[in-house]
Symmetry: C2
Subunit: 402 residues, 2 copies
């Protein structure tokens, strides 16, 4: 039977890269591909204790819960947001199945087919997929290492009347870059001037390598709390399997997202949410995050030092100040998608940069994750990657198959 799928799924591209990467997760390939935190630092026993408290609290803990999420956890997140300078009451907080669901629910209530969404370029691949699945007109804004170019941004806000601007201003995915304070201010000002909502995706904000630096969330700059939706997650700081993220912003928008969530899945796992609440009570999450920052910084430096040691003038990247990724640019003639199979055969994987781009991709880029592999594996994986790259320099007997 030919199944009569909806128009919106015609926008979803099947990805050969994803198929390949899902295969390699089984072998002994060292993967720099996924956006995975390190399992060594998972606080397994603390999470277990938190669950024990959930079960000790009795059967009511296992009943259906509220769509908005477990209220005491929303209270704690409200306090946590307050410490960051983001004023959000409990009623302005919606718990989601990871921050991915926050992106999806927001898109669902905002995007009619053909509506414009402005993004950085490159930007988070799975956000682009969401926007495309709602048939948005995704338009990239020019930018550099400081953030979006305010002139191009203003021109596009004026001309295209976008529904919203999607940004990852702190340790972006895939570039690992940080917006300057100036550019943040300009974005928020323009959002107010043209009445455009900003969706600030901040999954990595806590993984900050230089504690003396300040990266002000856009949600803090939006003083009236009218123009910024802010989302984050416990996936990178506690454990991913809990699938708990949150989103905060204007009540009218959060309420609409909660209505959408009610039809999407009634509510997320409330056992996970209750366990997170007890974990935040009993466990020193701040100190745990300091450990992660230190360890991930070390790993980033191992990767970066390795790259520096290659002394290859054709390699370039911006040193990540936090987050989980280093975005590597190779010489222009190299197509990293075409090279991926060779890399995998040589025991190392990455994500080609192309799918992170809107429009014309820079095919000579790759995203490398440095958080998941142990220092030893990091070095070994980089050895393998360097072998592949050095082979590309020599004229090859074999044709490259695209």
């Amino acid at each position: 039977m030919r199944y009569p799928f909806a128009d919106r799924v015609k926008m979803v591209k099947s990805s050969a890269v994803r198929e390949l990467l899902s295969v390699i997760q089984r072998g002994d390939v060292i993967s720099f591909a996924g956006g995975l935190p390190s399992e060594e630092f998972f606080p397994v026993q603390d999470v277990k204790k938190a669950y024990d408290r959930v079960f000790a609290s009795g059967p009511k803990a296992m009943q259906y819960g509220l769509t908005e999420g477990y209220t005491p956890l929303r209270d704690l997140i409200s306090e946590k947001m307050g410490r960051k300078g983001i004023e959000s009451k409990t009623e302005n907080i919606l718990l989601t199945t990871g921050s991915q669901q926050a992106i999806d629910l927001f898109s669902r209530i905002m995007i009619s087919p053909g509506d414009t969404v402005l993004t950085e370029n490159p930007t988070y691949l799975a956000a682009l997929q969401v926007f495309q699945s709602y048939e948005a007109n995704v338009v990239p804004v020019e930018g550099d290492q400081e953030g979006m170019d305010p002139e191009d941004l203003e021109a596009k806000m004026k001309k295209l009347r976008p529904k919203f601007v999607y940004v990852v201003p702190t340790f972006s995915n895939p570039e690992g870059k940080v917006w300057s304070e100036e550019r943040r201010k300009q974005l928020v000002e323009l959002a107010h001037k043209y009445n455009v909502i900003i969706f600030e995706d901040d999954p990595y904000g806590e993984i900050q390598f230089h504690e003396d630096e300040t990266y002000t969330p856009l949600a803090v700059m939006d003083e009236e709390g009218t123009h910024v939706l802010y989302t984050s997650t416990f996936s990178k700081t506690v454990v991913p399997a809990l699938r708990t993220g949150w989103v905060t912003g204007p009540f009218q928008v959060i309420r609409m997202m909660a209505q959408a969530k009610q039809s999407a899945d009634l509510h997320s796992s409330s056992l996970d949410q209750q366990a997170l609440y007890y974990l935040m009570e009993d466990f020193d999450l701040e100190s745990h995050i300091r450990t992660l920052r230190k360890e991930y910084y070390k790993r980033m430096l191992i990767m970066q030092d390795y790259l520096k040691g290659l002394n290859d003038p054709n390699l370039s990247w911006t040193e990540p100040k936090g987050g989980m990724f280093l975005f590597l640019k190779l010489e222009e003639s190299i197509n990293t998608t075409a090279v991926l199979m060779q890399a995998v055969e040589n025991g190392v994987a990455y994500v080609p940069g192309a799918p992170f781009y809107v429009g014309n991709p820079q095919e000579n880029t790759m995203r490398l994750n440095y958080t998941h592999s142990t220092p030893d594996k990091l070095k070994l994986g980089m050895d393998r990657l360097a072998q592949v790259l050095s082979r590309l320099k020599k004229p090859s007997d074999e044709p490259i198959i695209f």
Copy 2:
């Protein structure tokens, strides 16, 4: 700021009834409103043991998982489906955040605005909300206690070329009815004849009061496995807070739903899925389900006997053969939505039947849940409800405010 929401949210009606019902959950009101299983039978210690096994299995259990869900649990569900006569390989099974998410993901990949969906009338309220949120043209099919009328169904399949037919053939929500075997066959035959997909929602199938009766799932009758999507959940048989449902059907459709799920939330809680896997290994779920059947049957009989004892010729209902609800029809002049506030003031709540209808609702109906309240509370709640109903028979001094 006026937020420029998408067209699809204009289809979402805000519900005064839901607001009211969410308030009463706090007080000492006895609620027959929610579709809640009984907390007394939650196997809390067994669920705890299952989680203990997850934590003992080490940190990998807490990493990101597959969008399709935890493979060993999908294997077990595949076997479980096999025992029901539904052939489904592991690759044809997608785990979801409750079966609500299965309804949502399926709608998402099938419905373009204006597409027709055929349903029973009345039918599951939150499914209607999903279809409306994707701007479907929801068309009810005539029917009776046996199921949809095949003539009307065929006429509508022919004329309207629906994307799919949504049915809850076994212990429907809200009516608690069971389709006859004959009507099931006719639906499946018509689906094949007109190449229409059936979405079979079976959250209550396990809660069957008469073990000697056979209710064949539509998915069993669809021998080639081409025309039926089947969804069910652990929410009613284990505990709701785990939020784990599944959907099975043609691989091409399941794969498309998995792609949609990837952008919706990457994956559901994999801790919950792993715990369910261990629970199914260690716990006698079948025997637990037998207990639930027996206890819920008792509660249904308490409610029904109470209603019979009222000797009111204006009350009518069909005896539920399973599931969680009794659907009560009152005399025609009574609007149960208008009466709800009085009932709540008298310490009892229900869901008015109206929102379960497509088009013209029967305002004189209410859905009563008999699974959540203990036998004592059931009787007390029915006393309170009967008081309200008897007051309605007397001419009132106060105007009824709509």
